[in-house]
Protein backbone atom coordinates (compact mmCIF):
# COMPACT_ATOMS: atom_id res chain seq x y z
CA UNK A 1 0.00 0.00 0.00
CA UNK A 2 1.26 3.46 -0.83
CA UNK A 3 1.43 6.24 1.69
CA UNK A 4 -1.12 8.26 -0.25
CA UNK A 5 -3.47 5.29 -0.31
CA UNK A 6 -3.14 4.74 3.42
CA UNK A 7 -3.71 8.42 4.15
CA UNK A 8 -6.83 8.63 1.98
CA UNK A 9 -8.26 5.50 3.58
CA UNK A 10 -7.81 7.09 6.99
CA UNK A 11 -9.38 10.28 5.70
CA UNK A 12 -12.40 8.33 4.43
CA UNK A 13 -12.81 6.59 7.73
CA UNK A 14 -12.22 9.43 10.19
CA UNK A 15 -12.78 13.13 10.37
CA UNK A 16 -9.42 14.80 9.85
CA UNK A 17 -8.81 18.17 11.48
CA UNK A 18 -5.87 19.00 9.27
CA UNK A 19 -3.71 17.29 6.69
CA UNK A 20 -0.15 18.50 6.08
CA UNK A 21 1.99 17.31 3.17
CA UNK A 22 5.63 18.26 3.49
CA UNK A 23 8.54 16.82 1.51
CA UNK A 24 6.82 13.52 0.93
CA UNK A 25 5.65 13.15 4.51
CA UNK A 26 1.98 13.16 5.39
CA UNK A 27 0.72 14.34 8.76
CA UNK A 28 -2.88 13.87 9.76
CA UNK A 29 -4.30 15.67 12.74
CA UNK A 30 -7.26 14.08 14.42
CA UNK A 31 -9.56 15.01 17.23
CA UNK A 32 -8.56 13.57 20.59
CA UNK A 33 -11.62 11.36 20.66
CA UNK A 34 -10.76 9.65 17.36
CA UNK A 35 -7.05 9.06 17.79
CA UNK A 36 -7.26 5.68 19.47
CA UNK A 37 -9.67 4.32 16.87
CA UNK A 38 -7.53 5.75 14.08
CA UNK A 39 -4.44 4.07 15.49
CA UNK A 40 -6.28 0.78 15.73
CA UNK A 41 -7.50 1.15 12.15
CA UNK A 42 -4.02 2.09 10.92
CA UNK A 43 -2.51 -0.91 12.59
CA UNK A 44 -5.11 -3.54 11.75
CA UNK A 45 -6.38 -2.40 8.35
CA UNK A 46 -3.49 -0.41 6.89
CA UNK A 47 -0.60 -2.52 8.12
CA UNK A 48 1.20 0.03 10.27
CA UNK A 49 2.71 -2.64 12.46
CA UNK A 50 5.45 -0.51 13.98
CA UNK A 51 5.17 2.58 16.16
CA UNK A 52 8.59 4.12 15.61
CA UNK A 53 8.00 6.97 18.04
CA UNK A 54 5.42 8.59 20.21
CA UNK A 55 6.27 12.08 21.35
CA UNK A 56 4.71 15.33 22.44
CA UNK A 57 4.97 19.03 21.70
CA UNK A 58 4.32 21.96 24.01
CA UNK A 59 2.85 24.87 22.04
CA UNK A 60 3.01 27.18 25.02
CA UNK A 61 0.51 29.99 24.69
CA UNK A 62 -1.75 28.17 22.21
CA UNK A 63 -4.98 26.48 23.04
CA UNK A 64 -5.06 23.50 23.11
CA UNK A 65 -1.55 23.66 24.44
CA UNK A 66 -0.11 20.19 23.88
CA UNK A 67 0.22 17.86 20.93
CA UNK A 68 0.79 14.12 21.02
CA UNK A 69 2.52 12.83 17.91
CA UNK A 70 2.39 9.23 16.67
CA UNK A 71 5.00 8.14 14.13
CA UNK A 72 3.61 5.07 12.41
CA UNK A 73 5.62 2.83 10.16
CA UNK A 74 4.69 -0.14 8.03
CA UNK A 75 7.51 -2.62 7.81
CA UNK A 76 5.73 -4.41 4.94
CA UNK A 77 5.09 -1.38 2.73
CA UNK A 78 7.96 0.79 4.01
CA UNK A 79 5.77 3.82 4.48
CA UNK A 80 5.73 6.32 7.30
CA UNK A 81 2.66 8.20 8.45
CA UNK A 82 2.41 10.77 11.21
CA UNK A 83 -0.72 11.19 13.28
CA UNK A 84 -1.26 14.06 15.67
CA UNK A 85 -3.78 15.06 18.24
CA UNK A 86 -4.13 18.06 20.48
CA UNK A 87 -4.51 17.91 24.25
CA UNK A 88 -5.80 20.79 26.30
CA UNK A 89 -4.05 21.91 29.46
CA UNK A 90 -7.34 21.79 31.32
CA UNK A 91 -7.82 18.11 30.57
CA UNK A 92 -4.36 16.59 30.27
CA UNK A 93 -5.36 13.13 29.21
CA UNK A 94 -4.95 11.11 26.03
CA UNK A 95 -5.92 7.51 25.32
CA UNK A 96 -3.13 4.99 25.65
CA UNK A 97 -2.15 2.95 22.59
CA UNK A 98 0.01 0.54 24.58
CA UNK A 99 -2.46 -2.25 23.86
CA UNK A 100 -1.79 -1.80 20.12
CA UNK A 101 1.96 -1.37 20.13
CA UNK A 102 3.82 -2.56 23.22
CA UNK A 103 6.53 0.01 22.61
CA UNK A 104 4.03 2.77 23.37
CA UNK A 105 4.24 1.77 27.02
CA UNK A 106 7.60 3.43 27.65
CA UNK A 107 7.05 6.25 25.16
CA UNK A 108 3.87 7.24 26.95
CA UNK A 109 5.64 7.07 30.28
CA UNK A 110 8.24 9.47 28.90
CA UNK A 111 5.58 11.89 27.65
CA UNK A 112 3.91 11.70 31.03
CA UNK A 113 7.22 12.31 32.79
CA UNK A 114 8.42 15.20 30.64
CA UNK A 115 5.12 16.91 29.73
CA UNK A 116 2.65 15.72 32.31
CA UNK A 117 0.10 14.30 29.87
CA UNK A 118 -1.63 11.32 31.40
CA UNK A 119 -2.59 8.32 29.28
CA UNK A 120 -5.85 6.67 30.20
CA UNK A 121 -5.73 2.89 30.02
CA UNK A 122 -1.97 2.73 30.36
CA UNK A 123 -0.97 -0.43 32.25
CA UNK A 124 1.80 1.18 34.33
CA UNK A 125 1.91 4.96 34.15
CA UNK A 126 4.94 5.90 36.23
CA UNK A 127 7.72 8.37 35.57
CA UNK A 128 10.44 6.82 33.46
CA UNK A 129 13.36 9.29 33.63
CA UNK A 130 12.91 11.50 36.65
CA UNK A 131 12.24 9.87 39.96
CA UNK A 132 8.80 9.11 41.32
CA UNK A 133 7.82 12.11 43.43
CA UNK A 134 9.61 14.77 41.37
CA UNK A 135 7.05 17.56 41.32
CA UNK A 136 7.63 19.07 37.85
CA UNK A 137 7.45 18.17 34.17
CA UNK A 138 10.76 19.53 32.90
CA UNK A 139 10.23 19.56 29.13
CA UNK A 140 7.41 22.08 29.35
CA UNK A 141 8.23 25.46 27.88
CA UNK A 142 7.51 27.28 31.12
CA UNK A 143 10.00 25.11 33.04
CA UNK A 144 13.39 26.84 33.36
CA UNK A 145 16.48 25.06 32.00
CA UNK A 146 18.32 25.55 35.28
CA UNK A 147 15.62 23.54 37.04
CA UNK A 148 13.80 24.05 40.28
CA UNK A 149 14.77 22.89 43.73
CA UNK A 150 12.97 19.87 45.07
CA UNK A 151 13.47 17.41 47.88
CA UNK A 152 12.45 13.79 48.34
CA UNK A 153 14.15 12.50 51.49
CA UNK A 154 16.21 9.34 50.84
CA UNK A 155 15.23 9.33 47.16
CA UNK A 156 16.62 12.36 45.39
CA UNK A 157 16.89 16.11 45.51
CA UNK A 158 17.42 18.75 42.85
CA UNK A 159 18.85 22.23 42.91
CA UNK A 160 19.03 25.17 40.56
CA UNK A 161 21.96 25.05 38.15
CA UNK A 162 24.02 28.28 37.98
CA UNK A 163 23.27 29.53 34.47
CA UNK A 164 24.27 33.11 35.39
CA UNK A 165 22.26 34.74 32.65
CA UNK A 166 22.38 32.23 29.85
CA UNK A 167 23.76 29.05 28.40
CA UNK A 168 27.49 28.55 28.45
CA UNK A 169 29.24 29.96 25.37
CA UNK A 170 32.88 30.73 24.64
CA UNK A 171 34.94 32.50 21.99
CA UNK A 172 38.63 31.96 21.22
CA UNK A 173 40.50 35.19 21.96
CA UNK A 174 43.55 36.29 23.95
CA UNK A 175 41.35 38.23 26.37
CA UNK A 176 40.68 37.57 30.01
CA UNK A 177 38.64 34.50 30.79
CA UNK A 178 35.73 36.64 31.95
CA UNK A 179 35.57 38.20 28.48
CA UNK A 180 36.10 34.96 26.64
CA UNK A 181 33.56 32.97 28.55
CA UNK A 182 30.64 35.12 29.52
CA UNK A 183 27.62 33.14 30.54
CA UNK A 184 25.40 35.04 28.09
CA UNK A 185 26.16 36.47 24.70
CA UNK A 186 23.85 38.17 22.24
CA UNK A 187 23.60 36.97 18.67
CA UNK A 188 25.08 40.18 17.19
CA UNK A 189 28.24 39.77 19.26
CA UNK A 190 29.03 36.41 17.75
Amino acid sequence: MSLEGAASKLQDQFQIVQRTDFRGEITLELALGHIEEACKFAKEQLGFNFLSDLSSVDNYGDEPRFEVVYELYSLDSNIHLRLKTRVSEDHLEAPSVAHLWATANWHEREVYDMMGIRFSGHPDLRRIIMWEGYPYHPLRKDFPLEGKPSEMPDVAFSQTAPLAGGPFVTLPSPGHIEDREPRARHAEEL
Binding site: L145, D154, V155, A156, F157, A161
Partner: protein
Amino acid sequence: MVTTAPAAYDSKVEGNIIFSRLDACINWMRKNSLWPMPMGLACCAIEMMAAACARYDIARFGAEVMRFSPRQSDVMIVAGTVTYKMALAVKRIYDQMPEPKWVIAMGACASSGGMYRSYAVLQGIDHLLPVDVYISGCPPRPEALLEGLMKLQRKIELEKSLTDQKKELLEVYS
Protein backbone atom coordinates in the same frame (compact mmCIF):
# COMPACT_ATOMS: atom_id res chain seq x y z
CA MET B 1 63.71 7.77 54.71
CA VAL B 2 64.96 4.26 54.12
CA THR B 3 68.32 3.24 55.49
CA THR B 4 70.16 -0.03 55.76
CA ALA B 5 72.77 1.27 58.18
CA PRO B 6 73.52 -1.29 60.92
CA ALA B 7 71.34 -1.04 63.98
CA ALA B 8 73.67 -0.34 66.81
CA TYR B 9 71.70 -1.97 69.62
CA ASP B 10 71.68 -5.54 68.28
CA SER B 11 74.43 -6.78 66.07
CA LYS B 12 72.61 -10.07 65.37
CA VAL B 13 70.06 -8.42 63.14
CA GLU B 14 72.51 -6.00 61.68
CA GLY B 15 71.53 -4.96 58.19
CA ASN B 16 67.97 -6.26 58.40
CA ILE B 17 66.39 -3.30 60.16
CA ILE B 18 64.94 -0.25 58.47
CA PHE B 19 64.27 2.87 60.50
CA SER B 20 61.38 5.05 59.43
CA ARG B 21 58.43 6.89 60.81
CA LEU B 22 55.27 4.85 61.29
CA ASP B 23 53.34 7.54 59.43
CA ALA B 24 55.61 7.16 56.45
CA CYS B 25 55.21 3.38 56.44
CA ILE B 26 51.44 3.50 56.73
CA ASN B 27 51.19 6.10 54.00
CA TRP B 28 53.58 4.18 51.77
CA MET B 29 51.50 1.05 52.07
CA ARG B 30 48.26 2.89 51.54
CA LYS B 31 49.30 4.89 48.54
CA ASN B 32 50.67 1.89 46.69
CA SER B 33 47.60 -0.27 47.05
CA LEU B 34 44.71 2.09 46.42
CA TRP B 35 41.81 -0.13 45.52
CA PRO B 36 39.36 1.90 43.46
CA MET B 37 35.60 1.83 43.62
CA PRO B 38 34.84 2.45 39.94
CA MET B 39 31.81 4.75 40.01
CA GLY B 40 31.42 4.70 36.24
CA LEU B 41 28.46 6.83 35.20
CA ALA B 42 29.24 7.98 31.67
CA CYS B 43 31.92 8.06 28.98
CA CYS B 44 34.66 8.82 31.54
CA ALA B 45 34.22 5.23 32.66
CA ILE B 46 35.39 4.06 29.23
CA GLU B 47 38.62 5.99 29.71
CA MET B 48 38.90 4.54 33.20
CA MET B 49 38.64 1.06 31.69
CA ALA B 50 41.30 1.99 29.18
CA ALA B 51 43.51 3.13 32.06
CA ALA B 52 43.08 -0.29 33.62
CA CYS B 53 44.03 -2.15 30.43
CA ALA B 54 47.47 -3.17 29.26
CA ARG B 55 48.46 -0.04 27.38
CA TYR B 56 48.12 2.37 30.33
CA ASP B 57 48.08 -0.24 33.06
CA ILE B 58 46.96 1.39 36.27
CA ALA B 59 48.43 -1.70 38.01
CA ARG B 60 51.81 0.06 37.86
CA PHE B 61 50.46 2.30 40.62
CA GLY B 62 48.89 -0.48 42.62
CA ALA B 63 45.36 0.59 41.77
CA GLU B 64 44.34 -2.22 39.44
CA VAL B 65 42.02 -3.96 41.89
CA MET B 66 38.72 -2.43 40.81
CA ARG B 67 36.36 -3.41 43.57
CA PHE B 68 32.71 -3.42 42.74
CA SER B 69 32.01 -3.67 46.44
CA PRO B 70 32.48 -0.38 48.28
CA ARG B 71 33.38 -2.27 51.43
CA GLN B 72 36.69 -3.33 49.95
CA SER B 73 37.77 -0.11 48.33
CA ASP B 74 39.87 2.90 49.26
CA VAL B 75 39.29 5.46 46.55
CA MET B 76 36.07 6.21 44.73
CA ILE B 77 36.66 7.31 41.16
CA VAL B 78 33.53 9.23 40.22
CA ALA B 79 33.77 8.90 36.45
CA GLY B 80 30.93 10.63 34.69
CA THR B 81 27.77 12.67 34.93
CA VAL B 82 26.10 12.51 38.31
CA THR B 83 22.39 13.04 37.82
CA TYR B 84 20.20 14.01 40.72
CA LYS B 85 18.51 10.64 40.36
CA MET B 86 21.86 8.91 40.92
CA ALA B 87 23.34 11.37 43.43
CA LEU B 88 22.12 9.83 46.66
CA ALA B 89 23.01 6.35 45.42
CA VAL B 90 26.59 7.54 44.90
CA LYS B 91 26.56 9.02 48.39
CA ARG B 92 25.20 5.77 49.83
CA ILE B 93 27.97 3.77 48.16
CA TYR B 94 30.57 6.24 49.42
CA ASP B 95 29.20 5.94 52.94
CA GLN B 96 29.78 2.18 52.81
CA MET B 97 33.47 2.51 52.06
CA PRO B 98 35.71 1.95 55.08
CA GLU B 99 37.96 4.72 56.34
CA PRO B 100 40.41 5.99 55.29
CA LYS B 101 38.87 6.80 51.93
CA TRP B 102 39.46 9.23 49.13
CA VAL B 103 37.50 10.54 46.16
CA ILE B 104 38.69 11.37 42.66
CA ALA B 105 36.30 13.48 40.59
CA MET B 106 37.16 12.35 37.08
CA GLY B 107 36.19 14.68 34.26
CA ALA B 108 34.23 17.87 33.86
CA CYS B 109 30.84 16.43 34.80
CA ALA B 110 31.89 14.91 38.10
CA SER B 111 33.87 18.04 38.95
CA SER B 112 31.34 20.72 38.06
CA GLY B 113 28.42 19.33 36.13
CA GLY B 114 30.38 19.95 32.94
CA MET B 115 28.30 20.86 29.94
CA TYR B 116 25.15 19.80 31.70
CA ARG B 117 23.94 23.08 33.15
CA SER B 118 20.53 21.58 33.50
CA TYR B 119 17.72 20.63 35.80
CA ALA B 120 18.77 16.98 35.94
CA VAL B 121 22.48 17.04 36.77
CA LEU B 122 24.22 17.60 40.08
CA GLN B 123 26.67 20.47 39.55
CA GLY B 124 29.71 18.65 40.85
CA ILE B 125 30.00 15.64 43.14
CA ASP B 126 31.70 17.91 45.69
CA HIS B 127 28.20 19.01 46.67
CA LEU B 128 27.91 15.59 48.31
CA LEU B 129 31.36 14.08 48.81
CA PRO B 130 34.72 15.47 49.93
CA VAL B 131 36.73 15.38 46.72
CA ASP B 132 40.53 14.97 46.95
CA VAL B 133 41.55 15.25 43.31
CA TYR B 134 39.74 16.83 40.38
CA ILE B 135 40.71 15.71 36.88
CA SER B 136 39.94 18.03 33.98
CA GLY B 137 38.93 16.74 30.58
CA CYS B 138 35.82 15.65 28.75
CA PRO B 139 36.58 12.84 29.04
CA PRO B 140 40.12 12.89 30.46
CA ARG B 141 42.60 10.63 28.73
CA PRO B 142 43.89 7.64 30.70
CA GLU B 143 47.16 9.51 31.30
CA ALA B 144 45.16 12.21 33.05
CA LEU B 145 43.60 9.65 35.35
CA LEU B 146 47.05 8.25 36.11
CA GLU B 147 48.29 11.77 36.83
CA GLY B 148 45.32 12.29 39.14
CA LEU B 149 46.12 9.04 40.87
CA MET B 150 49.75 10.09 41.33
CA LYS B 151 48.58 13.43 42.73
CA LEU B 152 46.45 11.52 45.21
CA GLN B 153 49.46 9.39 46.13
CA ARG B 154 51.47 12.56 46.84
CA LYS B 155 48.61 13.76 48.98
CA ILE B 156 48.46 10.52 50.94
CA GLU B 157 52.22 10.69 51.52
CA LEU B 158 51.73 13.96 53.40
CA GLU B 159 48.91 12.75 55.60
CA LYS B 160 49.44 12.46 59.34
CA SER B 161 47.94 9.00 59.47
CA LEU B 162 48.90 8.21 63.02
CA THR B 163 48.07 11.44 64.79
CA ASP B 164 44.95 12.20 62.78
CA GLN B 165 43.42 8.79 62.24
CA LYS B 166 44.76 6.60 65.02
CA LYS B 167 44.23 8.83 68.04
CA GLU B 168 42.71 6.07 70.16
CA LEU B 169 45.62 3.77 69.40
CA LEU B 170 48.09 6.45 70.43
CA GLU B 171 46.26 7.01 73.69
CA VAL B 172 46.48 3.33 74.57
CA TYR B 173 50.22 3.10 73.98
CA SER B 174 51.37 6.49 75.22
